[in-house]
Symmetry: C2
Subunit: 92 residues, 2 copies
DNA sequence: GGTGTATTTAGATTTTCGTCTAAATACACC
DNA sequence: GGTGTATTTAGACGAAAATCTAAATACACC
């Protein structure tokens, strides 16, 4: 947890792609993995990084593990970035 | 340039700290370096990463090199993150 | 032109990261 | 209980990142 882990997690293109996928709702590890040319073990590694960063949450059903976005962390990130905004456009 | 480089640049704690410093205005490479326990060469490396990512711009005066925030890239990042916002709080 | 200060570049080294294979774990369902 | 599917863990390995030292570059100023 903590910002260091969060930014680290966001630095990998595969992990960012996973986050984009999850916008439309929870997906199982296997469904996520179908979209990439890497092994399930590697997908599992990326998911663990995202979880450690607090960017996703997991829930287990049957022998599937579902992942979904944790939107509250994105709110915190937006807040962090807003520190750097110029004076104008404060209404975005 | 491009998002991959930008996120990569943000993944390092020293580089994030440099960005925070620059909020109050431009600083020379040397002034930035004073705040860290690493060599000037390493600071120069981090600054080059930030510049490659488009997060900072440099200007030269005398034999100093000043760095300052490039706020427009932060706007783009905010936009990227806004993809993940929940339905509520659309007015932040 | 020579000296001093600021910064970057080059090259080597250590650490961290992403990936793989193989094995382990966890369930479901018959 | 045994078999099959889904996922994670462990350990090894190559690639990439962060750091250092030493040398190079770029100015300023006398």
């Amino acid at each position: 947890m903590g910002f260091p882990d969060t930014f680290k997690a966001l630095s990998d293109p595969i992990r960012r792609e996973i986050l984009l996928m999850l916008r439309s709702g929870p997906l199982s590890a296997g469904e996520i993995g179908k979209n990439f040319d890497i092994t399930g073990a590697s997908i599992s590694y990326h998911l663990s990084q995202l979880k450690k960063a607090g960017l996703v949450m997991e829930t287990k059903h049957k022998n599937y593990v579902f992942y979904e976005l944790n939107t509250s962390v994105f709110e915190e990130l937006m807040l962090w970035f807003s520190q750097f905004r110029g004076e104008k456009n404060e209404s975005i």
